[in-house]
């Protein structure tokens, strides 16, 4: 598997020591050499002193999912030596700080020791500087081991430090220390190394949260309220930062308002209040926040108020694994809140879709007059993904939905806020302050009639609920269609996935093809499901549903909402909090294939 431009390097460090910056410099350098990379930050829920890992996969073939097995372990944390040693593939390498030499109990790998602490102690007197630059020393050593172009590395370092010579100088000195030592003491380059390639040319390396924050700016969102929670925090920070660059007038007036609320309940309340009043508004959170926001989501559903909620999912249940990834909020999002409640969901698969689906999400929210939940996850949101550059079509029009202005109200006869005039289940709304004596109504979570008046009439109540159900049939025709990738004509096996599972699944399909197994893929991009989902299931003998949760939540949703027979849907489930790998998908799919079917083919 491993070789030139095809390897996994894992940096094992201590968090809060400045290693994250050094590690991302390494990933960016490989990327700028034109080699497709994926970087996974496996970090603790802690600020300083606990083990953290940063895994970089280079794949000239362009596979950007995580891969199992570490070719080169950069073991900079004595706390985790044991497990780090175990993670190295046979024939692999382990690089460590040999200032305190030790014997590594494995004969099948090569250990490369460099007395980094000793060298740094001689070179720099300030302990903080020593600690930070130590990271660049190992980056330097690794860059020589992997034959990385120094000029590319220097360019990345220069960009990282904003061209400030005072910072670039010492960092390059540290790199040189590492490079010189490696060149002198190790057999460089290693069989796994880099060479210039073209697979990453023209691409960008970006996190989903940055992309979604930017997407919300492009979507015209003006009001954002939020409560800090990993892994969604950086989404709002990105939104605010992009707004400060792109949405401030020459006079210094801000064309946006961001409120850090006192909790998630308030955050979504602000978003709903703003959505009710005609602004494009959103909040971002993770699983625990979704639980807290459920009451308001029910109000948004029943009172029919547009807003967007980004759920950057993490490991549940409860506080769970705040810094690990999962897809375990599917049912909690689809049915958030009590009563007959259902929500429109979008499932971006990568940062590219986090950007493009943002505009879709706000359009859908206003078209359908309901909360739209963009279900991302920690892997997409916080890790750097290689994707195509963001694109925007200036000819794109925004769908602001059915809003009656003063003139329309003057023309309108018999306005009723919840009256289905067009037969699509979507009523017309008005904004406060529009007309002196027409169009005002009372928004409420209590049962209401078509004129928005309080009612306890059961017939009316049922009629309104039926109309909202009709609106959801319309929603199924408007949400993004599923992506279908053929595994070859006549494939009997289907596979359904969504979100961050996509790269691992595509790679697994490729491996399975080598095994002689053809699998078609359908990637769900929206809920309620479009007709293509049930059709895909009908067209295959069996359908594997790959998801990152224990309870096969998407499978349940398919059974409940797409009418697919339970026995047709075979779950393939990973829920250890680590980004999915192709090997995992392949192995579990092979295991889950009914033996009879395997025998028959």
């Amino acid at each position: 598997m491993s070789g030139v431009n095809d390897f996994v390097v894992r940096f094992a460090t201590v968090n809060g020591s400045g290693s994250a910056s050094a590690n991302s410099i390494f990933a960016k350098t490989v990327f700028r050499m034109g080699v497709p990379v994926s970087a996974k930050n496996i970090f603790p829920s802690n600020i300083q002193g606990l083990p953290t890992w940063y895994e970089v996969r280079a794949s000239e073939a362009g596979w950007v999912g995580r891969r199992e097995g570490v070719d080169l372990m950069v073991a900079m944390n004595a706390q985790t030596y044991e497990e780090d040693l175990a993670a190295v593939v046979p024939g692999g390498w382990l690089f460590y700080d040999s200032s305190m030499p030790r014997i590594w109990p494995r004969q099948d790998i090569t250990v490369l020791g460099m007395p980094i602490a000793e060298i740094c102690a001689k070179k720099w007197r300030d302990p903080r500087q020593r600690q930070l630059l130590k990271n660049m020393v190992y980056v330097g050593a690794v860059s020589t081991l992997l034959q990385i172009d120094l000029d590319v590395l220097e360019g990345v370092i220069s960009d990282q430090f904003g061209g400030r010579a005072k910072l670039i100088g010492p960092n390059m000195e540290a790199v040189a220390l590492g490079r010189d030592y490696a060149a002198e003491h190790f057999d460089c380059p290693l069989p796994i190394h880099t060479r210039r390639a073209s697979g990453a040319e023209g691409k960008i390396l970006v996190t989903g949260n940055e992309a979604a924050g930017l997407g919300a700016v492009y979507a015209g969102a003006t009001v954002c309220a939020w409560y800090p929670i990993t892994p969604s925090t950086s989404l709002v920070e990105a939104f605010e930062s992009f707004c400060n660059k792109l949405r401030v007038t020459a006079d210094g007036e801000k064309l946006f308002g961001v409120v850090q609320a006192e909790d998630e309940l308030a955050a979504i309340g602000v978003a709903l209040g703003a959505g009710w009043n005609g602004a494009r508004a959103f909040t971002a959170t993770s699983g625990p926040g979704v639980s807290l926001m459920s009451e308001f989501l029910g109000l948004g559903y029943f009172a029919e108020i547009p807003m967007v909620l980004y759920n950057v999912a993490r490991g549940g249940p409860s506080t769970g694994m705040p810094t690990r990834t999962q897809q375990s909020d599917i049912l909690a999002c689809a049915y958030a809140s009590h009563g007959d409640t259902k929500h429109v969901l979008l499932f971006p698969a990568d940062p590219g879709e986090c950007f493009s689906m943002s505009a879709d999400a706000f359009d859908l929210a206003e078209r359908l007059q309901t909360p739209v939940i963009v279900v991302s996850d920690l892997d997409i949101g916080m890790n750097s993904w290689m994707v195509d550059p963001f694109e925007w079509d200036d000819a794109r029009t925004f769908d602001r939905g059915k809003v009656l202005d003063a003139e329309a109200l003057d023309r309108a006869e018999n306005f009723g806020r919840y009256r289905d005039v067009d037969g699509d289940g979507i009523p017309f709304r008005t904004l406060p302050g529009t007309h002196p004596d027409k169009g005002a109504f009372f928004t409420r979570g209590t049962s209401h009639d078509e004129a928005a008046r309080y009612t306890e009439d059961g017939t009316v109540h049922a009629r309104v609920l039926d109309r909202i159900a009709r609106k959801f049939e319309t929603a199924a025709t408007l949400v993004p269609k599923a992506e279908i990738v053929s595994g070859g004509a006549g494939a009997k096996d289907g596979l359904i996935c969504f979100g961050s599972s996509r790269p691992a699944v595509l790679e697994a399909m490729d491996k399975l093809a080598s095994d002689g197994i053809r699998v078609d893929m359908l990637r769900i991009r929206g809920f309620p499901f479009g007709d293509e989902v049930a059709a895909f299931c009908a067209a295959h003998e069996r359908v594997f549903v790959v998801e990152q949760n224990r309870d096969a939540q998407m499978r349940s949703l398919l059974i409940l909402e797409a009418g697919v027979a339970a026995e047709k849907l075979i779950p393939v489930l990973g829920y250890d909090g680590m980004p999915l790998t192709a090997e995992f998908v392949r192995k579990h799919l092979l295991k889950a294939r009914p033996t009879a079917a395997v025998a028959a083919e």
């Binding site: 700028r32 691409k203 960008i204 390396l205 970006v206 940055e210 979507a219 015209g220 003006t222 009001v223 309220a225 792109l246 210094g252 007036e253 064309l255 946006f256 308002g257 961001v258 409120v259 609320a261 006192e262 309940l265 308030a266 955050a267 309340g269 602000v270 709903l272 209040g273 703003a274 959505g275 009710w276 009043n277 005609g278 602004a279 494009r280 508004a281 009451e295 308001f296 109000l299 550059p389 963001f390 925007w392 200036d394 925004f398 602001r400 008005t430 904004l431 406060p432 302050g433 002196p436 004596d437 005002a440 109504f441 009372f442 928004t443 409420r444 979570g445 009639d449 008046r453 009612t455």
Partner: protein
């Protein structure tokens, strides 16, 4: 029947305001609260106040939580949009609405349960943010809609209708609001329209967070002889610290009054708040003095009413955030979407 429209018959000689509207034009649906409910008197004061200061009804947004009080917005200003949200969460909805359109007047209507119990957190933070709104608490010391349980504002000494003593100390929302930085804090009584109406007018014109804590007896569950939130008790123990007159910009009269008794406070929008002090020890522009006045009256079993605290340095959330003077909900998408040409530089940063 759960929604009762009011007949629109009106007396031809009803007084009209500058907009040509009468107070009947500021009414809503028929109240479904109990006959004699204090909330209906507050509603009546709101109707008259809004009419008398010539507010265009449709430029008002009424936002409430859940409870008897929160139903009240249905009963006034039917040409205004209303939002009956979820329990204790009116402040966040009002915050969002205000962020989206700073040009409307936000009347938040809440109760003591909605504000002092389930909504205490949201209340506190709306105050802290200095949201430009009028926050009216229709305070009856009990949960009317669930049949009379104590609320967090009920006095410790004050028993339930069946005589059970309240074992907990009350939360005084005015003291809390002053401590948290509210700019305008007043307490009144639903049975004293003469005091309440000018306070409502001044609160609407105040640019910042204005709290009106209005004792509003629950005739059904908390109006017995021993209750400190009943009509009888509040009438007997209502100690007005001042009288407020509200003078809109165009009507400004500068009558000479004895110094020390009357103070004119010029509000942000040019209108004037004329304060006639009845208690020489109370300086409403001093938070400590206001807190002392409330506490010392409460210790004597009295209810200090009137404009308790006023910070003449009006502040609101938009100023803090630096948002544009134009309503965000009216911004054209062409101004909000940066467009394709800006993306090249952004993409370059990620390359």
């Amino acid at each position: 029947m759960s929604y009762i429209a009011k007949p629109i018959a009106r007396h031809p000689k009803l007084k009209r305001n500058a907009l040509g509207l009468t107070h009947r034009d500021y009414e809503g649906a028929m109240s479904t609260l109990c006959a004699g409910c204090g909330h209906d008197s507050i509603t009546a004061a709101l109707i008259e106040a809004c009419c008398e200061i010539d507010l265009p009804p449709h430029r008002i947004a009424k936002i409430s939580g859940i409870g008897c009080s929160s139903k009240a917005p249905t009963y006034f200003i039917k040409q205004a949009h209303g939002f009956n949200s979820v329990h204790g969460r009116m402040p966040s909805v009002a915050t969002g609405a205000n962020l989206a359109n700073r040009d409307l007047i936000y009347l938040g209507v809440s109760g003591d349960g909605d504000t002092a119990s389930i909504g205490l957190g949201q209340f506190a933070h709306a105050v802290r943010r200095k949201l430009n709104m009028v926050y009216i608490v229709m305070n009856n010391g009990c949960y009317g809609l669930t049949k009379g349980q104590f609320s967090a504002t009920n006095d410790r000494a004050s028993p339930s209708k069946k005589g059970a003593p309240n074992p907990f100390d009350p939360i005084d929302l005015c003291q809390l609001a002053i401590t948290l930085g509210a700019g305008f804090v007043a307490r009144s009584f639903s049975g004293d329209k003469a005091q309440l109406k000018p306070l409502i007018k001044a609160a609407i014109h105040y640019n910042g967070f204005a709290l009106l804590d209005v004792i509003s007896p629950c005739v059904t569950f908390n109006n017995h002889a021993a209750s400190t939130k009943g009509y009888e008790y509040v009438r007997a123990h209502n100690e007005a610290l001042d009288r407020v007159d509200f003078v809109p910009l165009e009507n400004e009269i500068r009558a000479e009054l004895a110094a020390g008794e009357t103070r004119d406070v010029l509000l942000h929008d040019g209108s004037t708040l004329r304060l006639n002090r009845l208690d020489a020890d109370h300086d409403p522009e001093d938070a400590d003095s206001a807190l002392t006045a409330i506490r010392s009256r409460a210790a004597r079993g009295e209810v200090a009413t009137g404009l308790l605290y006023l910070d003449p340095a009006e502040q609101d959330l938009h100023a803090t955030l630096g948002t544009t003077a134009r309503p965000l909900n009216a911004m054209p998408m062409s101004e909000l979407c940066p467009g394709a040409d800006k993306l090249a530089a952004i993409n370059a940063k990620f390359q």
